[in-house]
């Protein structure tokens, strides 16, 4: 069983090592881990996806809480939370295939962010299933490289995240218009720097 933990930590040297070391030493199985600073520069947010049974997942939460630099551990799962991943896919794209690739990109509301003579780089944002589905479809054109961020997640509409929203406003990168319907399944939210994840809920 997979569970997504959202871990608020002090933004200090060694904190990532502590968390990673904890997972290694206790044999917890980490699926993905994403880290970025929050609206408060003294705090970072880790989104950790862990695979394990109930006992293991309970221990993960308790052991994380035990770390002095960990401030809060919450569990974020759909439908109460939004989870997003970003992937960059370099796909083999001779001129004859470009239209077909662009159609797939369009359907997934992904973007082409780099064009070369024989290849394209596609950027996609969405939940894990959506990203995987798109990568699968692009596979038939010939994928040269895939880079995925790992999941970040945020609770929907709760008091806590609204608080974060107002702080987060000033950190949203200007010049990129947020999509209003980002919360709809599979909707892209555009590109956010990891540090801007606090603002993502605002866009939703």
């Amino acid at each position: 069983m997979k569970r997504t933990f959202s871990v608020l930590v002090e933004n200090q040297p060694g904190v990532l090592t502590r968390v990673a070391g904890l997972f290694g030493r206790r044999g917890f199985n980490i699926q993905s881990l994403a880290v970025g600073v929050t609206q408060d520069p003294s705090l970072s947010r880790m989104t950790i996806v862990v695979d394990g049974d109930d006992r293991v997942l309970e221990q993960v939460q308790k052991q994380l809480n035990k770390l002095v630099n960990v401030i809060k551990v919450s569990v974020l799962e759909a439908p109460e939370a939004i989870g997003r991943e970003l992937a960059l896919v370099r796909v083999h794209a001779p001129p004859a295939q470009r239209t077909a690739i662009m159609q797939v990109v369009d359907i997934f509301r992904a973007k082409i962010v780099d064009v070369a003579r024989r290849s394209l780089v596609v950027e996609i944002t969405g939940d894990e299933d959506k990203v995987s589905a798109m990568v699968d479809l692009l596979r038939e054109f010939g994928i040269m490289e895939v880079v995925r961020t790992g999941k970040i997640a945020m609770a929907r509409g709760s008091k806590e995240s609204r608080g974060g929203m107002w702080h987060g406003q000033s950190t949203i990168r200007s010049g990129r218009r947020p999509r209003a319907l980002a919360r709809l399944a599979g909707g892209g939210t555009g590109v956010w720097e990891p540090g801007e994840c606090a603002g993502a809920e605002l866009e939703g």
């Binding site: 002090e10 060694g14 308790k62 809060k72």
Partner: protein, 550 residues
């Protein structure tokens, strides 16, 4: 004022009176301003500094402190710090480090102690800026002693120690993520009281957490009020007086038949400050299968970690007991107590090792009863003979390495205990294997003139390993034979009086002579190598598979 002076001032302000240490290049500036009001005990190996600080902490209940230089000095601390970590002893370790400008350049005596001790300490710090030092020291001292206690390490680069501290810095702790819970949840405490009230065969299991919470009298009061027979882990020995009619002895691998049987028979198990280690539970899946388990611990992560906690209670054991005792009805439970009494088996045939411990109990019985004797052990057969045969009446009178099982703990821990409790008699029971692991500390004993009494049970071998090889490896004895030194001559070379006892019939006289010696002394007792520690539950087996004779 420079960083090093801030360090010492902070320790003094926090009530630290003694620090165990060993100087070296990176900490010379720190030693340079060592105040005369702080006693520094020069050990002969940094591992002993950490273990002495641990022994000091266990004996006194106060913070133990140690200091080492960078690189090899700091690395030598690790076994001692891990030992404190596993048994939850409050220890503050200060390590020197190369100057910040040389960090990461593989400088002379540079090691990543911050990284290396992350999994071995409760928390640790690398001080990058001198203005952070006052706050870090306040946090470190607090963290070592708050909630579940443990070792905290502060790594101090040389330039930070030498830097001038700005006149006004904020030294108040900033620990937004650390809020240990002290009071148990009232609803959970009420549930525990109900479970105990409706239980037919309840059992109390006490661990080291009771001692650290200073809650031993409360545990006894609860047992007496609710009619609970009591079993103890190794770390819990002394919580309930050994001669208390409700006391069944130690549980687990080398526990008593009665304690191990009672835990398998009970229908409610109230566990206080224990972590259900594999040495306690045997095969986890077969442990106390008929029992509803009420688990009280200050560390939430212990609840449900090794065995299910049907009624988990997070909180300080003392606070929880204060809430629980008034809610629990008074009971006699004669039937259950009779049943438990029937589990008690007459003591089997003692070998020389067990006899020596019993003889020591006779010679030192009055001291022990008064709480004036601290018994320290090393690790191995002698340790288990002590746990089985020496009666402990008070908390903090047995110091032993439980979780880590670190041979070599005994002598430095005895040093720490004797320095922390100068008015008490400190007796070390050790083996010829263990004593040689930190043997060099005999020099510290002499230099500090500590009247520690050493009872050496010498079987010329690594007895516990040998026992396993005999019992579980078809008697294939490999690498267990120790050709020992002449122990009497050796002790005398360090200026420590020593006696030899070759005849088991002379044990009691020998021990009386040893105890009468005003200074440090060593009694060398020969023990046949074939002797076993029994009873024994083989590792990984259910407690019911207890072996009582071999």
């Amino acid at each position: 004022m420079i960083g090093a002076e801030v360090l010492w001032n902070s320790l003094l302000q926090h009530g630290v009176e003694v620090i165990f240490g060993y100087p070296g290049g990176a900490v010379i500036p720190v030693y340079d301003v060592l105040p005369s009001s702080l006693r520094h005990v020069l050990v002969r190996h940094e591992q002993a500094a950490a273990m002495a600080a641990d022994g000091y902490a266990r004996a006194t209940g106060r913070l133990g402190a140690c200091i080492a230089t960078s690189g090899p000095g700091a690395l030598n601390l690790l076994c001692g710090l891990t030992n404190a970590f596993l048994d939850s002893a409050p220890v503050l370790a200060i390590t020197g480090q190369v100057p910040t400008g040389q960090l990461g350049r593989d400088a002379f005596q540079e090691t990543d102690i911050f990284g290396a001790t992350m999994p071995l300490t409760k928390h640790n710090y690398l001080v990058n800026r001198v203005e952070d030092l006052p706050r870090i020291l306040n946090e470190a001292v607090y963290l070592a002693q708050a909630g579940r206690k443990g070792p905290v390490l502060v790594d101090l680069p040389r330039d930070v120690a030498e830097a001038e501290v700005p006149p006004r810095v904020d030294a108040s702790p900033r620990l937004p993520g650390y809020k240990p819970r002290r009071d148990g949840h009232p609803a959970q405490v009420a549930r525990a009281a109900e479970a105990l009230a409706s239980a037919r065969k309840p059992l109390l299991l006490v661990g080291g957490g009771v001692k650290w919470a200073e809650a031993a009298p409360l545990a006894v009061r609860l047992a007496e009020k609710a009619g609970l027979p009591v079993a103890s882990t190794l770390m819990g020995l002394g919580t309930v007086p050994a001669d208390h009619p409700l006391f069944l002895g130690m549980i687990g691998m080398h526990g008593t038949v009665a304690a191990n049987r009672a835990v398998q028979e009970c229908d409610v198990l109230l566990a206080l400050g224990v972590r259900f280690s594999d040495r306690v539970t045997g095969k986890r899946e077969a442990f106390a299968t008929g029992a509803q388990i009420i688990h009280v611990d200050v560390d939430p992560a212990e609840l449900g970690k090794n065995v299910p906690a049907h009624i988990p209670i997070v909180g300080d054991v003392g606070r929880v007991l204060e809430g629980l005792i008034p809610l629990v009805p008074e009971r006699r439970r004669q039937e259950w107590l009779d049943e438990v009494d029937s589990f008690r088996s007459p003591a089997g045939q003692d070998g020389v090792g067990a006899s020596a411990v019993r003889a020591l109990a006779r010679v030192t019985g009055d001291l022990a009863r008064r709480g004036d004797l601290i018994l320290v052990t090393d690790v191995g057969q002698h340790q288990m003979w002590v746990a089985q045969h020496y009666p402990f009446y008070h908390p903090r009178t047995l110091l032993t390495s439980g979780g880590l099982g670190a041979m070599g703990y005994g002598l430095p821990a005895a040093v720490g205990a004797q320095i922390g409790c100068p008015g008490k008699r400190v007796v070390l029971v050790t083996g010829d294997g263990s004593l040689q692991i930190n043997l060099q500390e005999l020099a510290t004993v002499r230099q500090e003139d500590l009247p520690i009494k050493i009872v050496l049970l010498d079987n010329g071998s690594l007895g516990m390993v040998r026992q396993w090889q005999e019992m579980f490896f078809d008697g294939n004895l490999v690498a267990v034979s120790l050709g020992g030194p002449d122990w009497v001559k050796l002790a005398e070379a360090y200026g420590i009086k020593a006696w030899r006892c070759s005849d088991p019939g002379e044990l009691e006289d020998g021990l009386a002579t040893l105890m009468a010696e005003p200074g440090p002394g060593l009694l060398h007792c020969r023990v046949p190598a074939e002797e076993k520690v029994l009873p024994m539950v083989p590792a990984g087996e259910p407690l019911a598979r207890i072996i009582v004779s071999w």
